[in-house]
């Protein structure tokens, strides 16, 4: 028996955190592209972030569990590759929350033709002290989507959500 409306389903999904960046939900991350409610349950269309993101399967499981416990009769998850996910789809309010948690949100994507390859990254503003005296320590940080940086003034490390 299907008791959820489409709006209910979206509300439930907005309560499902990203497993690796739990301060934002899967909806705020922009990976939930479509929700359809039918007589046999809820169909959720998800667009994966990075091809190698190990959280993809866990996200599908969390979505399934959350909708089931909210009363969905059945849950099917469909993967949609095109158009590819972009950090432009991250909700602006969620981006501000990332910053408050010490993760610099993604900047604008670069024009690939104008910058074929960037060896020296632009300076970021430290999310703790506001200094722009910062250096990149590693292009890939604790997750594929984030780079690891350090502030040379307050000496604290911080993460940068890379534009994709």
């Amino acid at each position: 028996m299907q008791t959820l409306s489409e709006a209910d389903a979206w509300r439930v999904l907005d309560g499902v955190p990203d497993p690796e960046i739990p301060m934002i939900s899967v909806c705020e991350l922009g990976i939930v592209r479509e929700v359809r409610v039918g007589t046999d349950g809820v169909a959720v269309v998800v667009t994966p972030t990075y091809s190698g993101c190990p959280a993809t399967e866990m996200i599908a499981e969390s979505i399934r569990a959350a909708l089931k416990s909210a009363g969905a009769g059945g849950v099917s998850i469909e993967t949609r590759l095109a158009p590819p996910w972009t950090t432009d789809w991250i909700d602006p309010a969620a981006a501000r929350r990332l910053l408050a948690c010490g993760i610099v949100p993604p900047g604008p994507r670069e024009d690939a033709a104008a910058h074929p390859i960037r060896i020296t990254p632009r300076a970021l503003t430290c999310p703790r002290c506001g200094s722009t005296h910062t250096v990149r320590l590693a292009q890939f940080g604790s997750t594929a989507c984030k780079a690891l940086w350090r502030c040379e003034d307050c000496r604290e490390p911080f993460e940068y959500f890379k534009p994709l």
Binding site: Y50, S51, I117, F140, L164
Partner: protein, 249 residues
């Protein structure tokens, strides 16, 4: 072998085998940050392979899935470029190999975004964006080490001398490329050579490395004829599915 299927295998096998080689660094990186970076890049490459091999299985129409294609084929059935199966060597050698091939992949994915095969075009559009970060990462190290100390420069130049002759294979013309180019499914890899040479040349130049003179050597991994290293790699990669068929966790 159907040209469409074979073309997809060349891509999916190359990303898979490079991913496997980069994953060998896990726990052995020169610094924790690099260990993590290499594992992350390997995951992206294996993830791209999963998409391509799943699609290849559907195109083949024999009911084979990504796992069967990755773990239950023999050496001569793999179509990866020889370059990616070569042993890692030192860290600089791995970075150079990764840089040469990831730059090629970036050119390839960009061209395949216009494929008439909608599934392939979607995978290419997604992978294209990831490839940019892989190229940046490896290119950064090629410059740092090439234009570094006398020791690092010497090692990088020897690595380039070792690896360069394997890049000829990437651009060798063949009937499979011709067939997919004709149908709009893919591009002939030879058409990517000018763009690749510019992108690679810019970084090698900044790294103060000298491109070796062309040689007549032509490796043939993408035609199914591999180096002596491939069997050892597959023995390790496929062991679990061979010993415990259908095992899952």
């Amino acid at each position: 072998m159907n040209a469409h299927f074979e073309y997809l295998l060349r891509i999916g096998d190359s990303t898979l085998i490079l991913g496997q080689r980069l994953a060998e660094w896990c726990g052995h990186g020169p610094a924790l940050e690099e260990d993590i970076a290499l594992a992350n890049i390997a995951l992206d490459l294996v993830g791209q392979s999963r998409l391509i091999l799943t699609h290849a299985g559907a195109v083949e129409g024999q009911g084979r899935d990504e796992d069967q294609l990755a773990f239950l084929r023999a050496e001569h059935q793999f179509r990866n470029a020889t370059l990616v199966e070569l042993p890692n060597g030192d860290f600089g050698h791995t970075m150079l190999k990764s840089f040469l091939f990831c730059t090629f992949l970036r050119e390839l994915w960009a061209a395949l975004e216009r494929s008439t095969d909608a599934g392939l075009a979607a995978i290419a559009a997604k992978s294209s964006k990831e490839a940019r970060y892989h190229v940046e990462h490896a290119g950064d190290w090629v410059i740092r080490l090439g234009d570094g100390t006398a020791e690092s420069h010497g090692r990088m130049q020897r690595s380039l001398d070792d690896l360069w002759s394997y890049t000829t294979e990437l651009f060798a013309a063949n009937p499979t490329d011709e067939a997919v180019r004709h149908s709009g499914i893919g591009v002939g890899w030879s058409s990517l050579q000018p763009g690749w040479e510019v992108a690679v040349g810019r970084v090698l130049n900044e790294a103060t490395l000298v491109v070796p003179a062309p040689s007549a050597f032509l490796s043939r991994g993408k035609f199914g004829v591999h180096s002596e290293h491939m069997g050892h790699l597959l023995a390790e990669m496929q062991y679990l599915q061979r010993a415990y068929p259908g095992a899952t966790w």
